[in-house]
């Protein structure tokens, strides 16, 4: 243990060993989580908790030395969320789905911002509100597939969760810029409305320009890749270059390191055909798992119990506000498009699970806010990490209850499957 926790100045060996242990522990706990039918991300977070605040094996100082992992992982997360914004898919989903998604996301953001601003600064409340909109599709998908759900609720929720993260990330990018500009002024300064929106507007415009330009270049490059044995390798090279360039230049030029790769992802996905898109997804999936395991495990290790307890009331208000926002926001959206009473009643509860994207956004918020307001940044990170654990554990149960009450799931007998081992042949 001494060997692993000692990081000799100028020597990268300790950092590399720690990273290896972090990925190993994350992988193990991810497997254990999958065994208990919980999304692997929850396992990564628990592994991080064990390595960080519980055992003290990895210190916050050591974690700071791994910031490149978080920047790169966030770039890939944002790029992939952008990839989901394929306009053909939006057209297929229909205007009703777009309206429901946008209304519930905006309503949730507004409710969480309004309720938490009584306990924290408005700039922090805006960021918490934006992150509250994100939803995790994994637990929803797990319940739908496991119980062979069918019906109007199922038909509505699947396209909504597919679009929800993209809407959430766009709102987050805009509100985080506003939040940073609000925190970046001294109390003596009095800003006009124009001055207040000038910096975020500039940041968003640079992000669109950068992401768009790099996205167009990547899209053209992917389209020209020939069908041969090197196809996957070339594809991966282009994606890695795009993510690194968008994230790096955004950080360098003061643009949004979340919006920029996301816009590049959106441009790329709308420039290539479905075959190229599938190949692109496959190559990303092949490359990023260790980065993602490290990122989410490190995120868990960053949880500080003292900050969580100190900001406990903010966390409780965030959780209650998000539940209220999702339920009534969904009710409002489904009422506007005249959905059935079943969908109106149960869609909101089914949208409560939260995990990967919310964690990513909380780390992105921490990275940006910590430069101008350290304590506020810590509150955002810890409140979101703690509430994600809450929603990751309770979300699947609530989704199942909602689908049962909506009478859309079959009574399927439980099965025991060991995920890492072949089993259960059908004997004649």
């Amino acid at each position: 243990m001494m060997l692993l926790s000692t990081n000799i100045h100028g020597d990268m060996s300790g950092l590399i060993i720690n990273l290896g242990v972090i990925i190993l522990m994350g992988m193990l706990f991810g497997r254990i989580a999958e065994y208990f039918k919980i999304p692997a991300i929850t396992g990564y977070l628990i592994a991080g908790l064990l390595l960080g605040p519980i055992s003290g094996f990895v210190s916050l100082e050591e974690i700071k030395g791994m910031s490149i992992i978080s920047d790169v992982a966030l770039g890939f997360i944002a790029f992939q969320v952008g990839n989901e914004l394929w306009f053909g898919k939006l057209k297929n989903s229909g205007m009703k789905i777009v309206i429901i998604t946008v209304v519930q996301a905006v309503f949730t953001t507004a409710v969480v911002t309004f309720l938490t601003m009584f306990f924290v600064d408005l700039s922090v409340a805006l960021v918490l509100g934006a992150i509250a909109a994100a939803t995790a599709p994994a637990p929803i998908m797990m319940i739908i597939k496991k119980y062979r759900a069918k019906g109007e609720l199922t038909d509505t929720i699947l396209p909504v969760v597919g679009l929800d993260d993209a809407v959430g990330v766009i709102m987050f990018g805009i509100l985080l810029s506003i939040s940073v500009s609000m925190l970046d002024v001294t109390s003596a300064e009095v800003l006009t409305v124009f001055e207040m929106i000038k910096t975020p507007l500039f940041e968003i415009l640079i992000s669109i320009g950068l992401g768009g330009a790099i996205g167009v270049g990547s899209g053209f490059a992917i389209r020209t890749i020939s069908h041969n044995r090197d196809r996957k390798e070339k594809n991966l090279n282009i994606i890695v270059i795009s993510v690194f360039l968008t994230t790096g230049t955004a950080l360098f030029l003061g643009a949004s390191p979340i919006l920029t790769p996301m816009i590049a992802g959106t441009v790329v996905t709308n420039m290539i055909n479905k075959d190229c898109y599938v190949l692109e997804e496959e190559t990303i999936r092949f490359f990023v798992p260790p980065i993602m395991i490290a990122f989410f495990t490190i995120a868990g290790a960053q949880l500080q119990f003292d900050v969580v307890f100190a900001a406990g009331i903010v966390g409780v208000v965030y959780i209650l506000g998000r539940i209220f926002g999702k339920m009534f926001g969904s009710y409002l959206g489904t009422t506007i498009v005249k959905s059935s009473s079943k969908v109106k009643k149960y869609l909101g509860v089914s949208l409560l699970p939260q995990s990967g994207v919310a964690i990513g956004l909380s780390i992105a918020a921490y990275n940006e806010l910590s430069v101008v307001a350290g304590p506020e940044a810590l509150v955002v990170k810890n409140v979101i990490l703690a509430s994600v654990l809450f929603f990751a554990l309770t979300g699947p149960v609530l989704v199942k209850i909602a689908f049962t009450r909506a009478d859309e799931i079959e009574d399927v007998k439980e099965e025991k499957v060991i995920p890492w081992k072949n089993s259960h042949a059908y004997q004649e």
């Binding site: 991810g30 999958e34 039918k37 999304p39 692997a40 991300i41 890939f76 997360i77 992939q80 898919k89 297929n92 995790a136 599709p137 994994a138 637990p139 998908m141 797990m142 597939k145 496991k146 699947l158 396209p159 597919g162 599938v278 997804e281 990303i284 999936r285 990023v288 798992p289 993602m292 995990s355 990967g356 994207v357 399927v412 099965e415 499957v417 995920p419 072949n422 089993s423 259960h424 042949a425 059908y426 004997q427």
Partner: protein, 90 residues
Amino acid sequence: MEKFARISRITTDYLHGTLHKLIFQYEGPNKVHIVVSYEDRNEYWFDYELDLNMNNHHVDFNSHRLASTLEKVQISRDEHFEQALQELFD
């Protein structure tokens, strides 16, 4: 080609998705690893992995998961799909 068409039909019937990719990987004289990649109508992608025992033509379940980097999640197996696949190789 005929077997491929039948697997495509089985995928549509039991997994309610469109077969996109089918991988047969020989892993020794008695074992073939099969990966069925399919897309459902909401454009979510899934990988169903099985092992085919060449001796007795039994299909062993390996994994069924949502194919996404962020939301990696195990999904329940579909017994009817596996049985249909086994009948195909019998």
